[in-house]
Symmetry: C2
Subunit: 196 residues, 2 copies
DNA sequence: ACCTGAACACCGTTCAAGT
DNA sequence: ACCTGAACACCGTTCAAGT
């Protein structure tokens, strides 16, 4: 039987999987290409065939994170309830993802310092906002949200969503505060969106 | 004249100053203790007398950032205007600081992965919230903000504040979007705080 | 096409020793 | 008290060479 050679067909995917695991378990500081390669049984130079840089691997990780979060948010759009309920679902989905993937979320929104390379990440983040836009537009159609340019409402909503998740992840809000504060945040968002 | 020896009296402060400069100019990835020591004309082992760790230096940098932001926010509390105006001043102050200190803000809110060491940073972040609490409480007294537990309103407000600044820093919102969106954010916050 | 092995220039951290 | 110099164990990246 072959023991190794092409690793097992997909070193690139294996690197990403393993990297995310290390990120979650030991933090971003402990993420080393050489250790990754060691763990996967390839030479330390092998990863460079798939990622030109350590940063390129981190960017790919962040991009995958955005894609997963996007799916999670889209899936949270349960129908047939009030605007407030649907908004609550969105907030809960975002916060749950954030808490379950704290280090990854950090990575996703970290300033890249290379403007060119971060372009794809920025558009991925902006795509997330589309879910908020749809939700708000729907609320406007049903009369549960005040009129006006949808972005003027959806952008601040998304901003609150992200700020809350960010505080949860960074520990500024404790787990208890996040749980008990969720209702207050939703109430605050609705008051800011309600026609009157 | 003495050329060096105790550097020039305060290596610790010099390290912090220089580190922040490097952070701003070349990003967090380019921050190396050895290079810092070289720049300051001391041996590479000298910094360890003042910071047990590279992380300890980063923590000190973040803590100083919180203190400066706290001053900036407190100073933004101009009096004699409407609640909306004072809130607008707070948002502008936070966003201005964020844009002028993007990498530092990132560092301030980055997950530390060492729960014990990040305690001081978390309380520093929470102290920032006090400014929002005072502003909201004041609004409640003047009747410009709805009644109820002040934290139920101040926490979401602070959350929006931070989320907006975070999007500005990470580039999710372009400079133009930040400028033009500021009014919308304030309007959204006020609607969420207004008695009706 | 994909990977190895050696090489290069850098790190952070520690610790005896100096002043 | 504060710093130096040497040492140790690690990095990321590159590049000829192998299969």
């Amino acid at each position: 039987m072959q023991t190794r050679r092409y690793h097992h067909g997909d070193l690139r995917a294996a690197l990403l999987t393993r990297a995310e695991q290390t990120l979650r378990e030991k933090g971003p500081g402990a993420l080393s290409l050489r250790e990754l390669a060691r763990d996967l049984g390839v030479s330390h130079a092998a990863p460079s065939r798939h990622f030109k840089d350590k940063q390129a691997l981190l960017d790919a990780l962040a991009l995958a994170g955005f894609e997963r979060l996007d799916e999670v948010l889209a899936a949270s759009r349960t129908e047939g309830e009030t605007f407030a309920d649907r908004l609550g679902g969105l907030v809960r989905a975002y916060v749950d993802f954030a808490l379950a993937n704290a280090e990854l979320l950090d990575l996703m929104y970290t300033v890249k310092h290379d403007p060119a390379a971060s372009e794809a990440l920025i558009t991925a983040a902006q795509r997330l906002g589309a879910t908020a836009v749809e939700l708000v537009a729907e609320g406007q159609r049903s009369g549960e949200v005040r009129e006006g340019p949808v972005d003027d409402i959806a952008m601040p909503v998304f901003t609150t969503l992200h700020g809350f998740a960010s505080f949860a992840v960074s520990g500024v809000l404790s787990a208890e505060q996040v749980g008990s504060g969720l209702e207050a945040v939703i109430a605050y968002m609705v008051r800011g969106c309600a026609p009157r």
